[in-house]
């Protein structure tokens, strides 16, 4: 006897199913020869299901659980695609789902007529009416309703076999839904109507234990604590084995004969629905837009050949003959490989998109291994010269592999939606969709939804969630016993039953899919059959999005193009635009020379704030030690500052070699040319490939294949044998082989693709160039597009340091962008309206549209700001010039203005009339005088509260007296101190990082900004324990510790303790100042 589960929800039925498709299939493969996946509202888990089925030799069956609207009301039914029909079933299923998601309701639902229309005369799907259909819900209560509804379905689906009754017995209370009695009634209904019946278990989880997780998911779906909504009836909806299902069949039918018939008809439908992945889903068959969609008549390969050859003179003008031969040779090699793999159309497609983006005057850069291809460089997809930078094509694409390569392109983030729309227009809606992304439960999300299920207070959950750093939810219990910031929670949970439960259910939720959203950059480009192969749903952007995620692309043979919006590209484009608008300077950022000494000098100061990729505290520290002088140094630095190289302790030998502290060790003279650039340290994938090639004589393509296999334990010994044998045969000594192999073996997680590093280094250099030569425009770009990791207020600090002038918000000049303004003293940045808290977009738009204003009343009448906005604008001085109180000799002050504004707002502005002047609202001479003006401190507080930025001076200034008394050191003075000096630093927290370390122990880096620069403090175990919850929570901190020199311009602080600066200030002001406490602490530690 056999049985197949035909109704199975995986975890991709978000907030419903509990187990991943892969786990379900592996478990099923021991007992079943086929398994269905029928996720709610989509095929979200289908590709993973099919992949797992292929790997485990189980026949895949795919369907969906979907709502259908009939004349009688709404029914949720299972729709299964029939297989082995050249994809007709799969395509109908996809189109039904896509249609349901176009519904005008909030939820996906398809009307009966639309369903019938898609199924057509020859339906290739079966529809199962079960417990969630009107038929199933009414069968025990209202036989007339049941009969009515069933006749609607029978009349709509005439072909035998397309309508099926689903019989499910979840052993619920007798007489209720999914009870034995209910199942029996469904079976009888099928018999009376001469419809086939199938037995299912409406599976939501793999094992009974998972039912508890399902309870928590139900709570998250209902957004209600457990107990406030209808619970699942029990824990029976699991993937029961054949014997259990046979027993249920017998209990339901009470007759061996009928039980067998039920199981037979279940097996019959299962057989009909077994899919052939290749012929039904076009599994693994690469799909690219058709030639005509690309506007090509000739053979695509010939077009590619011609286009890339003719671009040589563009990319390499005035090249010498020998070099030209080299270029042509490499190009031929790449083109032959591309042709062999049949990817010519793919490259033409990406080039076409790149050209389209450039035609739209949008900045574009390649990222990833694609920068290693000369073809990409010549086609304008990438801006990095792979020959000059020593990048290898084989790392990107090789004939040893046939998966579609990834070419990722970065564009201006602010304009990426424009690009997506243009791609849809160019290739047509039948060939393009956006890509989706499943976000999964991580620590904080899991603890929040777990807390919700248990009915904990929001603040309580918040407190716990805030302290969850850098561990996965499944290790919650382990983490809370180890991490100081969770110590209090750990002890609370011993006393508190609910908190203890919270730990367990948080662990259960870890990694489960949570919700689907648009992938931030993925676009699928297919041929005209794309919508037969993937279901789509609307995205927030209004463009359709595939239900498949990035991991589904390769198996489905879809070409995914990553068009990633990068804010830095927007910021740079903005700076270039402002330079042209204000000064008529034309900057060709993509053609600037990459060897400007001023740019490297600027980088070497370590004031890298705002520079792409190297502004983080860690990169800043590394910049201080590294002192880059050329483009390749940037590539190296970006590649080195990663978890792998840091864990592998590669940075120190590299720096020692570079600064002449140690003699680089090349192991063998043959390796010197390969490793010279990195002083003997193997940093890049490309270097490893060249070493393999040199020492074994294999091709670079083969070398890359072996490099990829190093990550797979099962293959390492094969590679080792090959390497040792071949190197020995080529005459390398045993000791050289030994040493090189130990590097190769450990390389897996350490190395980085040089092409990727070089692709990143380009915007790094470009942004540094702008910061060096156009600081005002660059700061304006950074403030407008906010590309970095730091708060804007820190950028203002950097502007002050650079001597870039900042002009205050002014309703007559400010817009939603940080404009560059010409002043008598040179260019300056005008603060924008967009950072004023609580100000609506229409309010901002009205101000921009109505500028300029003649006086306050005119402003109030035409810009129509809310009372609150009006007050806020007053408080931050945005109305000062308009009110004529900007000068120091003005009779009135901001407090006077506020009084006036409040009076003004008390009157209702009349409808706008162009002829009516603003006299009656009161002209300026009515401005009161004599109110007590705001202090500098109050003005600063207003700025911080309203804009989040300390525009007039740095926030830390107000503590200065106390800090001076304490002897607190300024960040820019640290560099002058000896190593191991006891110091106190204070400032605003601007970054907190916990990178993975070599030892496996956690280290916390906190950067404080005090207006003169950043002080970076490192907290090890003991220090973390001392300041526990302060570590991740307080914004204003005082840190004590010792200086640690890390390089020529690198200093960091080895932290010993930290205090809440506001608390100290409070104590200091009250005279109960605990300086002694700090001091005694310092003394103990010395």
């Amino acid at each position: 006897m056999s049985f197949v589960h035909l109704n199975v929800a995986s975890a991709y039925s978000a907030h419903y199913g509990v187990n991943r498709p892969e786990h379900l299939v592996v478990a099923a493969s021991e007992k079943f020869d086929a398994l269905a996946i029928t996720d709610r509202d989509g095929l979200y888990g289908a590709v993973k299901h099919i992949g797992a089925c292929i790997a485990n030799k189980v026949s895949p069956i795919v369907g969906v659980s979907l709502s259908v609207e009939t004349a009688g009301g709404e029914s949720r039914v299972i729709i299964l695609a029939h297989g082995h029909n050249k994809g007709r079933g799969w395509s109908q299923l996809c189109r039904i789902i896509s249609k349901a998601h176009q519904s005008k309701n909030k939820k996906p639902i398809i009307g009966m007529s639309a369903l019938v229309e898609i199924l057509g005369e020859n339906p290739a799907c079966s529809i199962l009416l079960g417990g969630e259909s009107i038929v199933g819900k009414s069968v025990l209560e209202d036989s007339r309703l049941t009969a009515n509804e069933l006749s609607i379905w029978k009349n709509a689906l005439l072909k035998p076999g397309s309508l099926v009754i689903e019989v499910t017995n979840l052993l619920t209370e007798p007489g209720t839904l999914y009870s034995e009695k209910h199942a029996r009634a469904m079976l009888e209904l099928a018999d009376q109507n001469n419809l086939p019946a199938v037995l299912t278990n409406a599976v939501r989880y793999l094992q009974p234990d998972d039912a508890l997780t399902a309870d928590v998911l139900d709570s998250a779906r209902h957004l209600e604590p457990l107990g406030l909504f209808t619970l699942q009836p029990n824990a029976q909806a699991w993937l029961k084995p054949v014997e259990e299902m046979a027993r249920i069949a017998l209990e339901v039918s009470e007759d061996t004969q009928r039980a067998r018939k039920l199981l037979t008809s279940t097996a019959f439908l299962a057989d009909k629905c077994r899919l052939d992945p290749v012929s039904d889903c076009s599994w693994g068959v690469p799909k690219t837009p058709e030639q005509q969609a690309l506007g090509i008549d000739e053979n695509p390969f010939e077009v590619l050949w011609q286009r890339s050859h003719s671009a040589i003179s563009w990319r390499y003008p005035a090249v010498k003959a020998a070099e030209l031969a080299h270029i042509q040779h490499r190009l031929s090699k790449e083109l032959i490989a591309i042709n062999q793999l049949g990817f010519a159309t793919y490259f033409l497609t990406v080039a076409d998109v790149a050209q389209m983006i450039r035609d739209m005057k949008i900045r574009i850069a390649a990222r990833g291994s694609g920068a290693g291809s000369l073809v990409n460089y010549l086609l304008g997809i990438s801006g990095v010269d792979p020959i000059a930078e020593g990048l290898l094509f084989e790392r990107f694409l090789s004939t040893e592999r046939s998966t579609l390569p990834d070419i990722d392109i970065d564009v201006e983030s602010a304009r990426r939606h424009e690009i997506y729309r243009a791609i849809f227009r160019r290739y047509g809606g039948s060939r393009v969709t956006l890509l989706s992304m499943q976000s999964t439960y991580r620590g904080r999300g899991a603890v929040r939804d777990g807390g919700l299920a248990l009915g904990l207070e929001d603040e309580e959950i918040d407190d716990i969630a805030k302290n969850m750093w850098r561990f996965s939810a499944r290790n919650f219990r382990k983490a809370m016993n180890e991490k100081p910031e969770l110590a209090r929670f750990a002890s609370d949970s011993k006393e508190n039953r609910q908190l203890n439960l919270l730990v367990d259910i948080t662990e259960r939720l870890d990694r489960l899919p949570r919700h689907i959203s648009v992938h931030p950059c993925g676009v699928i480009l297919g041929n005209s059959s794309l919508l037969d192969l993937t279901p789509t749903e609307p995205s927030g952007m209004g463009l359709p999005m595939s239900q498949f995620d990035k991991d589904d692309m390769d198996p489905m043979g879809f070409l995914k193009l990553d068009v990633l919006g990068v804010r830095m590209q927007s910021a740079m484009a903005y700076a270039v635009r402002e330079a042209k608008r204000v000064n008529q300077d034309v900057i060709e950022l993509d053609s600037i020379a990459k060897d400007d000494p001023l740019v490297y000098k600027q980088i070497r100061t370590t004031n890298t704030l705002g520079i792409f990729q190297i502004e983080s505290p860690g990169q800043r520290e590394l910049t201080g030690k590294h002192q880059p002088t050329q483009f390749n140094d940037l590539t190296l630095q970006i590649s080195l500052f990663r978890p792998g190289p840091m864990k592998g302790n590669m940075i120190k030998p590299y720096l020692d070699g570079r600064h002449g502290i140690a003699q680089p060790d090349y192991i063998h003279p043959d390796l010197r040319p390969i490793l010279e650039e990195s002083y003997g340290v193997v940093v890049f994938h490309e270097q490893l490939m060249k070493i393999m090639q040199k020492m074994t004589g294999c091709t670079l393509a083969r070398a890359d294949e072996m490099r990829r296999m190093l990550g797979k334990d099962s293959r390492v010994s094969t590679i080792e044998k090959y390497f040792r044998d071949s190197a020995l045969a080529r005459g390398y000594s045993q000791s050289v082989i030994e040493r090189v192999w130990s590097i190769i073996e450990g390389f897996g997680s350490f190395g980085f693709c040089k092409a990727h590093g070089a692709a990143f280094a380009l915007p790094t250099y470009q942004s540094a160039w702008l910061k060096t030569h156009y600081p005002t425009e660059f700061i304006a770009g950074l403030l407008t597009h906010d590309p970095g990791m730091y708060p804007k207020r820190l950028l203002l600090g950097e502007a002050r340091r650079l001597g870039v002038k900042i002009l205050p918000i002014d309703v007559n000049y400010s817009t939603n962008e940080y404009l560059v303004e010409k002043t008598n003293a040179g260019n300056a940045v005008r603060m924008a309206l967009s950072d004023i808290a609580g100000m609506s977009t229409p309010e901002i738009e009205r101000i921009i549209c109505e500028q300029p204003f003649v006086d306050i009343a005119d402003f109030y009448q035409r810009a129509r700001p809310s009372k609150r906005t009006m007050e806020r604008l007053t408080l931050i001085g945005a109305l000062d010039t308009l009110a004529g109180i900007a000068g120091i000799d003005s009779e009135s002050n901001r407090a006077d203005l506020l009084v006036y504004v409040r009076q003004l707002c008390a009157k209702r502005p009349k409808p706008i009339d162009a002829n009516q002047l603003s006299f009656e609202l009161g002209a300026l001479q009515n401005l009161p005088t004599g109110n007590l003006g705001l202090t500098k401190e109050e003005e600063l507080e207003n700025e911080l509260e309203i804009t989040g930025m300390d525009i007039s001076e740095h926030e830390i200034e107000k503590f200065q007296q106390m800090l001076d008394e304490m002897g607190v050191v300024r960040a820019n003075e640290l560099v002058n101190l000896r190593s191991n000096t006891e110091v106190l630093v204070a400032g605003v927290r601007v970054a907190t990082q916990t990178p993975p370390m070599r030892s496996g122990k956690r280290v916390v880096f906190i950067s404080l900004d005090d207006g003169t620069g950043c002080a970076d403090a490192t907290f090890f175990d003991e220090a973390q324990r001392r300041c526990a919850s302060l570590l991740f929570q307080n914004r204003l901190l005082l840190i004590s510790g010792k200086t640690r020199r890390t390089g020529v311009r690198g200093v960091s602080i080895l932290a010993e303790n930290a205090w809440d600066l506001r608390q100290l200030w409070h104590d200091w002001e009250n005279g109960s100042y605990s300086w002694l406490k700090i001091e005694s602490n310092l003394m103990i530690s010395t």
Binding site: E173, P208, D215, A235, A453, L454, L501, D504
Partner: protein, 93 residues
């Protein structure tokens, strides 16, 4: 205090055949119907580690008629886990 039945004898499928209640010996006289009811674990459980989920979520129930020398009663029995105690959930005579 929950009323408890003792000396429960089961068939190979786990269905009760006979038991003792208030010193009377009962034989099950109908086809007993097995079903599973809910438990409100979030109000009771101390912890919910992997493996104990189903025992926290549901409880096995049997609906049956039973006959003794003296009477015939309708019963709903609850089979508690993990201690295996059989409790009377509902009784009608």
């Amino acid at each position: 205090m929950q009323q408890v039945v003792t000396g429960v004898v089961l068939d190979p499928d786990g269905a009760p055949i006979s038991f003792t209640f208030e010193n009377r010996h009962y034989l099950v006289s109908s086809r007993p119907v097995r079903w599973y009811s809910r438990k409100i674990w979030w109000q009771q459980a101390q912890s919910a580690p992997k493996g104990v989920g189903s025992a926290l979520v549901e409880v096995e129930m049997w609906r049956l008629w039973a006959t003794s020398e003296f009477d015939r009663i309708f019963l709903e029995l609850r089979h508690q886990q993990p201690d295996g105690v059989w409790e009377i959930y509902r009784i009608d005579s």
